[in-house]
């Protein structure tokens, strides 16, 4: 086989980009992750409203441990399903930091909402804040990952 001409080379590079995009499309957390995290957020709010410090501490530690385990199992978006593992350099270095920053920001939002609700005289401020932020986690998480995928695809196109 002789060397390809420019048109063949361009078509081959397009085919390669298409396959790379198929793999990038798989960068995501598993389906259970965001829903489970949102539900756990609500549960933690309910526990905090029970107003037992030892129970709150235990639930917070359990929440942190469960999240660390789930996040690790998902391999920071590299194993949405058991059908492939995306290479770390394709996912990019910042996904883990961005997802964790997203969770930290929402944690701060939970505290702020809870304090506001408490100042407003709500009977269950932490539950209220937990439900609000839990919904934000369940809906915002997939949106965040979709944005990260789009950003990564454009970065890799530029680098190509």
């Amino acid at each position: 086989m002789s060397q390809p001409n420019a048109q063949d080379a361009a078509l081959a590079l397009q085919a390669i980009a298409l396959r790379q995009q198929q793999v990038i499309d798989e960068v995501d957390m598993p389906a259970w992750y965001w829903g489970g995290l949102g539900a756990a957020w609500v549960g933690l709010g309910v526990v905090i409203d029970l107003d037992h410090p030892w129970l709150t501490t235990a639930a917070t530690v359990l929440f942190g441990a469960a999240h660390a385990s789930g996040f690790s199992r998902a391999n920071a978006g590299r194993r949405r399903t058991g059908r492939l593992s995306v290479r770390a350099d394709v996912v990019g270095r910042h996904v883990t930091a961005l997802v964790l920053a997203f969770i930290v920001v929402l944690g701060a939002a939970t505290v702020a909402l809870s304090l506001l609700a408490s100042a407003d005289g709500a009977r269950h401020p932490a539950t209220f804040a937990g439900v609000a932020v839990g919904i934000a986690v369940a809906c915002g998480g997939p949106t965040l990952m979709a944005a990260l995928r789009r950003r990564r695809a454009s970065q890799l196109q530029v680098a190509a």
Partner: protein
Amino acid sequence: MSAEPQFDELIHPSTRLSIVALLASADWVDFGFARDSLRLSDSALSKQFSTLEDAGYVAVERTRSDRRSRVRVRLTPAGRAAFDGHVAALRAVLATANGDGLADPGPATPRKA
């Protein structure tokens, strides 16, 4: 990517190029994922994997999980080097055609596709 341009005749046919490109972005790929993504039959995909495995470009691993046999395929370091060199060669062809003349596409490997 800074690989030396090296046109690879084994990789270049469109089906094999698609397979290797898919594997190049992943640590490993399940056989079913590759079959569905590439829209190939089991037998056609197996045949291509065998050719690539014989060349030392891919490694096929058979595992059992949940009582089901699974086949995982990964690109070997030799396969990755060949793919990187092939991509560099394709880019060199385009660069030459565009008048950039940045790189020579390199010699074609003597393999028969």
